[in-house]
Symmetry: C2
Subunit: 148 residues, 2 copies
DNA sequence: TATTTTTTGTTTGTATACAAACAAAATTCC
DNA sequence: GGAATTTTGTTTGTATACAAACAAAAAATA
């Protein structure tokens, strides 16, 4: 007799939600999101923060490229940029050299927001990794990098 | 001179998006979601699948408890249950012993969907973990469990 | 040059995810 | 028994996330 425990329908066999990576990736992501929302300045979301950080490095990139560098597809990055623009952290202008492109650049207010968010950002990463010792943190980062 | 590279504004110091767990948790979750959507039967989403699997184990639980066991808050599990109910995979009824509770149970069609989804589900986990060897898979699961 | 393909951005629709505010029922505490 | 608290579920609003369909511009190719 295999996979037919008395009080469980045999449909699932040995399959358990608690054995699947996807389940834990979702849980870990949720926990991180809560920590992020609890610490970040100006109510910036993880994706908004990612976009601002990239813009602080590049100062000006096309909207889709910004999305690629921050792991967001075209539809998602558009919403993020729109919301950042509405708050004055980012400015958009048509690319004079390419009629398709929308150039996105960070404003001085956006830079100020990055400055306010930097300490919280470090805290967020530290708090997320708090359950792990240093070797485990390195291992997790390595494994996630391989996975993505 | 620290943190002031020539072509980078010094705002960020040593902070890099690519060093933060949150960024990789998001990326890994996205990759898993794509793999999931590419293989799962009946167009079931990860959360819908999680709910169905839990219901296949329990057969009948309250809506909020189902949410807790599948890592969804009250508002989220409601939407998931509503959509599963609309497709006939799940049935809801008021709990006779507790006027607040909504009892959720899996239907025979829901069980059939779980049967159809089981092989894809195993494939999804395998494909997600493909970049890692066996020791790394165990390590990742352990670390994510500690994290969540 | 003309056609095809690719890239870029937009819009719509569906599905998480959570905060906050709310109502109703059950439980706890005095 | 009665009041305060907790639990359960709903609704609204905001923000990802992606598929699919579309349009416009640029690049590649014949």
């Amino acid at each position: 007799m295999v996979g037919g425990a008395a009080d469980h329908p045999s449909v699932l066999g040995d399959y358990r939600l608690e054995d699947q990576v996807g389940f834990y990736l979702r849980r870990a992501g949720q926990r991180h999101a809560v920590i992020f929302a609890g610490h970040m300045a100006d109510g910036l979301t993880p994706t908004q923060w990612a976009a601002l950080v990239k813009l602080a490095e590049h100062h000006s990139v096309s909207q889709n490229l910004l999305g690629r560098e921050t792991a967001m597809d075209a539809a998602t990055i558009k919403g993020v940029v729109d919301r950042l623009a509405k708050r004055g952290f980012v400015a958009t202008s048509p690319d004079p050299d390419d009629g398709r492109r929308m150039r996105v650049s960070i404003t001085s207010e956006g830079i100020a927001a990055v400055q306010r968010g930097l300490e919280p950002a470090l805290l967020i990463t530290a708090e997320t990794l708090k359950p792990l010792d240093m070797a485990e943190r390195r291992a997790l980062l390595d494994l996630l990098r391989k996975l993505a």
